[in-house]
């Protein structure tokens, strides 16, 4: 058999559209992992990894499918890192990835519906399903003896899914959700949302949104008007940028995001800063991990054929094996080459369960003195 000289990974994210502001950091995260592997130059006995970007638009299933078609049948990519939004992700999966038998790892599609999607074993995600996070968030609140909360979520499958999961868990645990109100991203003015939330009242405000979208607008407005002073921040809301933007007011707010007791996140952030992008941006770490997993699975399988390496994704992601952190991809490749097992931890403590989604180990954080501090793990 000919040696493999080139591996091509498609990066399909919403470069335009509602998520366009967080996507550049995500793409940069994925490309960081790829650059790392290329620097090592040892993948599959010396193959170079190239990338091809495509625009998922986040919202338009038709355009996303066409773009994916271009990646898979035009650019002949071996795997896809993407997509970002759950809607287009499932469209690409069904319309392009499955028919062509191409592996897809999404860094940010968290809709519970994707857990049971028919995928022929081709689909994975480095973000956990929202169902799990709802339970974790309930625990965090209950431990702090907070039982009366207001809830707002971004009106998409992520926000709604998370809000529903949380509300169910929280009420089952005896808590009260005074109001569960959606907010639309891509607006600037959130005073009416905050007015409604304030009128309903609650000890804290749970904001299931994005750091640079409506979520931020809501927090800013709530602080300014004195509606709430403590916020609960799930994964989409945890980011240094938010802390920097809001400043003092966020002190004391808390939340959780995927992560284990590992140094991976900090390493990744340092690497990102070095590479010139914001490593704390939502799903940047997940993107790094998604790309890394694709390449490591290839190495483990000794092949860049999706049909072959799709069965190795879970192996490299999970224990047993040597733990692999960001910046150690070269080492991982060596280990795999040597026939050893690895346990990829990466930037977000990846642990794949079920049909190939992140297990949902969460890191509980609190904002103190303008920094995100870890207070525990769940």
């Amino acid at each position: 058999q000919d040696p493999i000289t080139e591996v091509k990974i498609g990066i399909e994210l919403g470069f335009t559209g509602p998520l366009e502001s967080i996507v550049p950091a995500m793409a940069a995260g994925a490309e960081l992992a790829i650059a790392e592997v290329n620097t090592a130059g040892t993948l599959l006995g010396g193959a170079t990894v190239t990338t091809a970007r495509a625009d998922s638009t986040c919202t338009d299933a038709g355009a996303a499918s066409a773009a994916a078609e271009g990646l898979v049948t035009g650019e002949m990519v071996d795997a896809i890192m993407g997509a970002d939004c759950s809607g287009v992700t499932s469209a690409i999966l069904q319309n392009v990835a499955r028919p062509n038998g191409i592996v897809m790892i999404s860094p940010s599609a968290t809709s519970p519906a994707l857990s049971d999607a028919e995928d022929d074993g081709l689909f994975f995600r480095t973000a956990p399903s929202d169902a799990r996070q709802g339970v974790v968030m309930t625990d965090v609140l209950m431990d702090r003896e907070i039982t009366n909360v207001a809830l707002t979520y971004t009106n998409n499958d992520y926000g709604k899914g998370l809000a529903d999961a949380f509300q169910a868990a929280f009420e089952a645990a005896g808590g009260t959700v005074t109001i569960s109100a959606a907010h639309e991203d891509g607006k600037g003015d959130y005073s009416s949302e905050v007015a409604a939330l304030a009128a309903a009242g609650g000890d804290v405000l749970v904001v299931a949104g994005y750091t640079d979208q409506g979520g931020k607008g809501i927090i800013q407005n709530a602080l300014d008007t004195g509606a709430f002073d403590t916020f609960v921040l799930p994964d989409g809301m945890v980011g240094q940028q938010l802390v920097d933007d809001i400043g003092e007011g966020l002190t004391g707010s808390f939340g959780q995001f995927p992560g284990t007791d590992s140094a991976g996140a900090e390493t990744f952030q340092a690497m990102a800063t070095e590479a010139g992008f914001d490593g704390t941006g939502a799903f940047a770490g997940e993107s790094y991990d998604a790309a890394a997993l694709i390449m490591l699975a290839m190495e483990a399988a000794g092949s860049n054929e999706s049909a072959v390496f799709k069965d190795h994704v879970m192996d490299v992601a999970n224990a047993p094996g040597t733990e692999i952190f960001p910046g150690e991809l070269a080492k991982a490749i060596e280990l795999l080459k040597a026939g050893e097992d690895i346990d990829y931890v990466g930037a977000t403590a990846v642990e794949l369960i079920g049909n190939g989604e992140s297990a949902g180990n969460y890191r509980e954080i609190e904002i103190r003195d303008g920094a995100i501090e870890t207070v525990g793990y769940r």
């Binding site: 502001s21 600037g188 800013q220 008007t225 933007d245």
Partner: protein, 336 residues
């Protein structure tokens, strides 16, 4: 006391924000309405013109701050605003010369111009993003509040607080000044009247010795100024993001139309109507009623007129209701 608390609560969460938002919409809608009245088309590129002007202002603000020039308690962006306005003026004049003029000379149907403005919108959309990026940018500096919740509580001893942000105060003052200046200009000055004449009957304006090119130029200049001011005020009060400004187009159009498109008074009324409607229609009265009603009657539910889910659609529902009963808007607008 109870009553006062309720009142303050309502003011803090409804009146103040809606006033500021309404003022921003109103200035935006004024721009749309002027283009409509004088150049006769619905300018879909207006949102992106706002974004462009704001983007330039942001760049200049950054430069000023880097140079150590600030305005003390006021946002530095106010200092940069004239530059932003000037740049936007150049932009729209350039666009007019390059694009719109051709169709004006050809006397194209308004809908052609609408579609042309759609093309301009696409281009401008891209240009702005390439120029400043797609991210979220916060550029307000200086003092954040004129009055904070805590200050208010301390001063009055009430349970509820009232906050007024600097940007909200600036927005209202600027809006008032801008609108007054515009009205004075349109109704009192020769140039203003000639613009109205031109908007009414282009040929006859010509026969009265009015220079059409000058009218068009002045219109664009005013529109550029209005767009930049609206954009910067909005960005100061919230934050800047290219996509948000594109989205803003819908409420701005709704405001212009509700008021009666082509009618400046209507644009302002429309702006405030839409803003207040968005805040109040889905507003849960629970807490206010708890203050105002005797304890025994305090409500259990949220007491919402309309479920919050539909908040996004509220401005359009208002729009439809108004149009059904007054088909040309609140203040009679022009209709082609």
């Amino acid at each position: 006391m109870e009553f006062l608390n309720g009142l303050v609560f309502l003011t803090n969460f409804v009146v103040v924000p809606a006033l500021a938002y309404g003022a921003q919409l109103a200035i935006g809608a004024l721009g749309v309405t002027l283009v409509y009245a004088i150049l006769r088309f619905s300018n879909f590129a207006h949102g992106d013109t706002m974004a462009f002007g704001t983007a330039v202002t942001i760049k200049v603000t950054a430069l000023l701050v880097a140079l150590g020039i600030t305005l003390g308690p006021l946002p530095t962006a106010l200092l940069a605003l004239p530059v932003g306005i000037a740049a936007t003026m150049l932009l729209v004049l350039g666009t007019d010369w390059l694009v719109y003029k051709f169709y004006r000379v050809q006397r194209a149907k308004p809908v052609i111009l609408v579609i042309v403005s759609l093309g301009v919108m696409f281009v401008l959309n891209g240009v702005t993003r390439v120029f400043i990026g797609v991210g979220d940018i916060q550029f307000a500096d200086g003092a954040r509040f004129v009055l904070t919740v805590q200050q208010f509580k301390d001063a009055t001893g009430l349970d509820e607080g009232l906050a007024i942000r600097t940007t909200q105060a600036i927005t209202l003052v600027t809006a008032a000044v801008t609108v007054a200046a515009l009205f004075w200009f349109l109704n009192r000055t020769r140039t203003g009247k000639s613009m109205r004449a031109f908007s009414d009957n282009e040929d006859l304006a010509l026969l009265s010795g009015i220079d059409p090119n000058r009218v068009v130029r002045v219109t664009w200049l005013i529109v550029a100024a209005l767009a930049t001011i609206a954009g910067v005020l909005y960005g100061l009060d919230k934050s800047f993001k290219a996509f948000t400004y594109f989205q803003l187009l819908l409420p701005i159009f709704a405001a212009a139309i509700v008021g009666g498109i082509g009618n400046p008074v209507g644009a302002i009324a429309g702006g405030f109507l839409i803003a207040f409607a968005e805040v109040t229609v889905t507003y849960p009265l629970k807490k206010v009623l708890t203050y105002w009603l005797p304890d025994s009657m305090a409500p259990d539910g949220l007491v919402q007129l309309l479920s919050g889910d539909y908040k996004f659609a509220v401005s359009f529902m208002i729009l439809l209701i108004v149009l059904l009963f007054r088909p040309t808007g609140l203040f009679k607008g022009q209709s082609i």
